[in-house]
């Protein structure tokens, strides 16, 4: 249960979030969409306490998260760019994140699922972008949390890993988790998302299922429906 009320954020003169209200009450997969610079990442980072909003309140399970940090133990977050300390090995990084969270972790299955075992002793600085993203995914999914936030999870993944990722997301959904995803890949949205939240100019422009969105815009596929939403402005 996430309740966001009157959330506003300005970076200098640029208004990124403009009194945004959003309530996500159900379990399931929510795709947060919007053109570049519409405030998707700012919204996510506000929930995580990385961006400090100028105004508004964010509540998780009825409790405000402003100025707090313990609540982050209940959130799994996949950041947009996976860049780790170059001198640590994959194994050390996984151990470190496990060490930092007071929670049981299930990294073994994920390591074999994404075939990361051969890279465990390699330094992170020597890994390819795709492998780094796999490590990033392992770090995100190795904990059990009710809220999972994925910022561009598909970046750099090969087709097999992409299929695996979709399986994991589906599995987490079946466990009754709330999953927020931002992405620009519409086929991915159509495949996994239960609901679409469309951001434009720092506010919610549309919230509903992809079928409803297609009906509203009179388009056959999601890509064009979204394009039409953006162009309408």
């Amino acid at each position: 249960m996430i309740e966001i009320s009157n959330l506003s954020k300005k970076f200098g003169k640029l208004t990124v979030l403009d009194g945004l209200d959003l309530t996500i009450g159900k379990k399931g997969i929510f795709a947060i969409l919007g053109p570049n610079g519409s405030g998707k990442t700012t919204l996510i980072k506000s929930i995580l306490g990385m961006v400090i909003p100028d105004e508004g309140d964010i509540r998780l399970e009825g409790e405000t998260v402003m100025g707090k940090w313990e609540y982050r133990n209940k959130i799994n977050y996949l950041p947009q760019i996976a860049n780790f300390p170059a001198n640590l090995s994959v194994k050390e990084l996984i151990e470190m994140v496990k060490n930092l969270r007071p929670k049981a972790a299930n990294d073994k299955d994920l390591i074999s699922l994404f075939d990361v075992a051969p890279f465990l002793d390699k330094k992170l600085g020597n890994l390819s972008g795709g492998t780094k993203q796999k490590v990033n995914i392992i770090l995100t999914f190795m904990f059990e949390s009710d809220l999972i936030i994925l910022d561009e999870p598909t970046t750099g993944l090969d087709p097999i890993s992409l299929i695996r990722l979709k399986e994991i997301i589906q599995r987490e959904k079946d466990k009754g988790k709330t999953i927020l995803i931002t992405t620009h890949i519409m086929s991915f949205v159509e495949e996994v998302a239960d609901e679409i939240v469309f951001l434009l100019d720092g506010n919610i422009y549309f919230k509903g299922s992809s079928t409803a969105l297609k009906e509203q815009t009179g388009q056959m596929d999601l890509e064009h429906a979204i394009a039409k939403l953006i162009a309408k402005e």
């Binding site: 970076f11 990385m50 940090w69 950041p79 300390p85 001198n87 969270r101």
Partner: protein, 260 residues
């Protein structure tokens, strides 16, 4: 915080630059001792190098580490850890690993030369202490600059400028103002201006201990006259600590409103 400190420390300890820095001090120590053949003279030469070089390295390492580990810091920020803890851990990690390079790099040649049998052991320890303080001061200043500048080129520029100003330009301006206003009583002014520059301050701190009047210079002499050797040592040491605390306090304050 200890966990973050540990990882930052090990990350840095494995980087090539820590070894380059360590090797530099190691060879410097050996070269100075075997060319000088006199521990006391070697210490004075070392002082001149340390008070300029440790600030530079601390500044560059601090800024570089902050910008290079930005994305990783974001990963940490999403974990259930306080912001303060993350940055204080990183700050201590860098400062301690730099200090270790300094102490080991200089300590090994001096130990091999038979430092424990010489009377210079206290002077040498003071030198290392000043180097350590300078590391902590300039890494904190570098973090301040990096936190205030999103643009890394700008951040680097300001950091280098700060070093250049404190290490080189400040003395020049100070000297010119002394010459320009030499008709006025300048004791207080000179005293105050040496307190606001940690590099000047550490020079005075060491020279007061070494008790070499010829090298003390005008500020040092005023300092000595005003406070006496022992009080002068204590005061300059306390001000150096203040130079660590103030930037650290500002880091904490800045973190409260910072967006990542």
């Amino acid at each position: 915080m200890i966990k973050i400190l540990k990882y930052s420390f090990f990350d840095l300890m494995r980087s090539r630059w820590s070894y380059v820095y360590f090797a530099f001090y190691l060879s410097l120590g050996f070269v100075l001792l075997f060319l000088n053949n006199d521990v006391n003279k070697a210490i004075i030469t070392l002082m001149n190098i340390i008070i300029v070089l440790t600030p530079l390295i601390g500044t560059i390492f601090g800024v570089m580490y902050y910008y290079n580990s930005k994305e990783f810091t974001e990963l940490l920020l999403a974990q259930p850890i306080k912001r303060n803890t993350i940055f204080m851990g990183q700050y201590l990690g860098i400062s301690i690993s730099l200090t270790l390079s300094l102490i080991l790099g200089l300590g090994i040649p001096f130990l091999m030369y038979g430092l424990f049998m010489s009377t210079a052991i206290f002077d040498f320890s003071l030198l290392l202490l000043v180097g350590t303080l300078l590391n902590f001061i300039f890494v904190a200043l570098a973090f301040n600059i990096a936190l205030s500048n999103e643009n890394r080129i700008k951040g680097f520029g300001y950091a280098i400028l700060m070093w250049l100003f404190l290490a080189v330009i400040y003395d020049g301006v100070f000297l010119i103002s002394l010459v320009m206003f030499n008709e006025y009583p300048l004791d207080k002014f000179a005293l105050f201006s040496s307190l606001v520059n940690p590099i000047d301050l550490s020079r005075i701190l060491i020279l007061l201990k070494l008790d070499i009047s010829a090298l003390l210079g005008y500020t040092g002499a005023v300092f000595k006259k005003f406070f006496g050797t022992n009080l002068g040592l204590i005061i300059s040491f306390l001000v150096m600590l203040l130079w660590i605390l103030l930037p650290v306090w500002r880091i904490k304050r800045k973190l409260r409103r910072k967006d990542f």
